[in-house]
């Protein structure tokens, strides 16, 4: 058991997966000698060699397309897209090919690939480096979409993603890369994909979040506790396929709900969750479902960015508004 940060946990999981399965390859821009711009792939080239860790030319679309070919041939490529701001060109490969190869060939060819990419904002990065496009991927049938919120989850979920026989988009909250620290046992134990994690129990309001917003939700829960409000915090972790049951069960208990995500409100994955609750748990609801999200604007450059991203206080405020309903 070692205390590591989230990016180190990613690195441990990659090394573990490569160690246990020769078919696992790591590829992407600067993943080799540089070890990735965030060091997620640090040391892998030295340890596993240039046939397992491939520095690619600068072409995101082909990185994904190459992975489809490798996947169909039985490899398990783990491709890094350097920032989620540059991930849009791979949507075509994922939607048109990776996510349907199994279906279109009735299982003859499959595509066990993972695309990793640092996502989200809050690190005062330059333009295009703070995107949260998870909802787009969660809309593509045949994909899985996973976002860890702690080193432990990053380790367990990434291992699960790599071992999964289908394509997975694995988004890593940049903001937590160094900020989130925790104990990780490097024992190769994977988490289960497709489960939400109840990180904190409470009977008054359910706070639903993923990625870096989980940390904010937990902070909001702490603040609310001081006011005598019991907040249950759910880390969605796998957006697709979504574990509706855990969410509905919690709403059954609390009757109030705040969903938080960094991505712009409109069309964000919060809508999907709200939709499921409004279908499956409507009569449990005591208060309107609040979504606390990024605004429907371009993410501002660093001087104003801290105004853009949801935080514990906005989440707590929403919970307080919900508490006003009895």
């Amino acid at each position: 058991m070692t205390e590591v940060n989230l990016v180190q946990a990613v690195n441990l999981a990659l090394a573990r997966a490569m160690e246990e399965d020769d078919h696992v390859l790591v590829l992407g821009e600067d993943v080799g000698i540089d070890g990735g711009v965030f060091r997620a792939t640090d040391g892998l080239l030295r340890r596993f060699g240039a046939e397992r860790v491939l520095d690619t030319p600068l072409a995101e679309g082909a990185i994904a397309g190459l992975s489809v070919g490798l996947g169909a041939q039985g490899f398990r490529p783990v491709a890094e897209i350097q920032f989620t701001g540059f991930i849009y060109p791979i949507i075509d490969q994922l939607a048109s090919h990776a996510a349907r190869l199994r279906n279109r060939t009735r299982g003859r060819l499959t595509c066990p690939m993972v695309v990793r990419s640092p996502c989200g904002g809050g690190i005062r990065a330059v333009e295009h480096h703070s995107e949260s496009p998870e909802a787009m991927f969660a809309h593509i049938p045949g994909l899985r979409v996973v976002i860890p919120s702690s080193p432990r989850r990053a380790y367990g979920l990434l291992l699960a993603a790599i071992r999964d026989p289908d394509p997975v988009v694995f988004l890593e909250p940049t903001r937590l890369y160094r900020a989130a620290r925790g104990d990780v046992v490097d024992d190769g134990a994977a988490d289960i994909l497709g489960r939400c994690f109840v990180l904190r129990e409470g009977g008054d309001v359910t706070l639903i979040a993923w990625g870096a917003m989980v940390v904010e939700a937990l902070a909001a829960a702490t603040a609310l506790e001081a006011e005598g409000v019991g907040a249950e915090v759910i880390d969605v972790a796998t957006l697709k396929p979504l574990d509706t049951e855990t969410i509905v069960a919690s709403i059954g208990k609390t009757g109030r709900c705040v969903i938080a995500h960094e991505a712009p409100l409109t069309g964000g994955f919060g809508g999907e969750i709200a939709g499921r609750i409004a279908e499956q748990a409507l009569f449990s609801l005591l208060a309107p479902i609040e979504r606390i999200a990024g605004y429907d604007t371009v993410i501002p450059l660093p001087r104003l960015e801290q105004l853009y991203f949801p935080d514990a206080s906005r989440i707590a405020d929403a919970a307080r508004r919900a508490m006003a309903y009895r």
């Binding site: 390859l25 046939e51 690619t56 030319p57 072409a59 679309g61 082909a62 994904a64 397309g65 190459l66 992975s67 489809v68 070919g69 490798l70 996947g71 169909a72 041939q73 039985g74 490899f75 490529p77 075509d92 490969q93 048109s96 090919h97 199994r102 279906n103 279109r104 060939t105 009735r106 299982g107 003859r108 060819l109 499959t110 049938p141 045949g142 899985r144 999964d164 026989p165 289908d166 497709g194 396929p241 979504l242 574990d243 509706t244 049951e245």
Partner: protein
């Protein structure tokens, strides 16, 4: 002060001229009549298949269909140069190559008739299904080739796409990666001079499509794509070079789309029928048949026997297709993931409940 720092050339090859006369010594494989007759059978089978598919479509029994009439030699010649353990990554007009690789006419009819089982090839199990999206399958071929290279297997990936596809970034990115890693992959451009209504000259200002390889640091060359002997020779040489570690090749095969783009297209909107007429003299079956006849390897009787044989085979496959019941409704869900997630099981049950009530009028 200016110096020339790099020089490049593009070659064009052919074996038979328009009239089916050898323009020089033929490649070794052509010495064996069986080889040439196998090629001619492949071309004929493809053409008969195309005709049947169009007929089925016209009578509402097949979906929109992209015929390969006039271009058969590119597809058949390419596939004939491959080993069975190589992998074919075709676009949507490569029935000829697919058939030669062992995809069955029944599978092809199923696919174009709207049934996913048409891509569950019993034959070439690692071949890719066709790519309807133009160009985005090129990186898959690079990926397959990278897999071969990483496993040190002497296998080659072969990808075909059209002249239109060469304008798309996916092809550029795939070729570049193939070049950097010297991957065992051969890219064949089936340049049929049209991308739906766009003539080749408006697709790119490049004098040849072969020269696009120069941008990626490997060999690009042209071949007469209506000369199946030349296609087999040129593609074959590239495949063997790739197999030996010599890296990728881009081959532009010059051919002509004699038919409409698909059955949904009406080419008379954008090209004069008269402009097509001369190309009927260039077409690949005629050319090889002329050569075979001239050299006494093929008779009218042979031709009639072959036509009968092919027609019978394809008709039987069409029958089998028409008799194949559609998949059950749950087949919509079964292959989305290796295992069905709870939400999808819920959706499937919803569909089954509905479709039990109102049994679907399946085609």
């Amino acid at each position: 002060m200016s110096d020339v720092v790099a020089r490049f050339e593009v070659e064009f090859s052919r074996c038979l001229d328009r009239d089916g006369n050898a323009v020089g010594p033929l490649p070794a494989f052509a010495a064996n009549p069986e080889n040439l007759i196998a090629l001619y059978r492949g071309l004929t089978r493809t053409r008969v298949f195309d005709a049947k598919a169009i007929a089925l479509q016209r009578t509402g029994r097949l979906g929109t269909y992209a015929s390969s009439i006039g271009q058969e030699a590119v597809s058949v010649g390419t596939a004939s140069a491959m080993r069975s353990e190589d992998v074919f990554v075709p676009s949507f007009r490569e029935h000829g190559g697919q058939l030669l690789r062992g995809v069955t006419p029944l599978e092809l009819f199923l696919y174009w008739g709207g049934d996913e089982r048409g891509s569950l090839f019993a034959g070439p199990k690692e071949d890719f299904p066709i790519s309807v999206p133009v160009a985005s399958h090129a990186p898959h071929a690079a990926g397959v080739a990278l897999a071969f290279k990483l496993r040190h297997e002497p296998r080659v990936a072969v990808c075909i796409f059209g002249d239109g596809a060469t304008s798309k970034g996916d092809v550029a990115e795939a070729l570049n990666m193939a070049g950097v890693w010297r991957l065992p992959v051969v890219f064949v451009v089936s340049n049929n001079q049209w991308a739906i209504s766009l003539p080749r000259a408006q697709q790119t200002a490049a004098e040849t499509l072969a020269q696009k390889a120069i941008a990626y640091g490997f060999r690009g060359e042209q071949v007469d794509g209506n000369d199946v002997i030349a296609v087999r020779a040129v593609v074959g040489a590239a495949i063997e070079r790739a197999r030996q570690g010599g890296g990728p090749t881009l081959i532009e095969a010059l051919t002509y789309r004699l038919g409409d783009h698909t059955t949904a297209d009406d080419a008379s909107r954008y090209r004069e029928d008269a402009a097509v007429t001369p190309y009927w003299q260039e077409e690949p079956l005629l050319r090889l048949r002329r050569y075979l006849s001239e050299t006494g390897q093929w008779s009218k009787t042979d031709e009639e026997r072959l036509q009968r044989e092919m027609t019978a085979e394809i008709a039987a496959a069409a029958d089998a297709y028409l008799k194949t019941p559609p998949q059950p409704p749950e087949a919509i869900f079964a292959y989305t993931y290796a295992a069905l997630p709870a939400e999808l099981a819920r959706q499937r049950d919803g569909l089954l409940a509905v479709s039990r009530v109102a049994a679907p009028e399946a085609s």
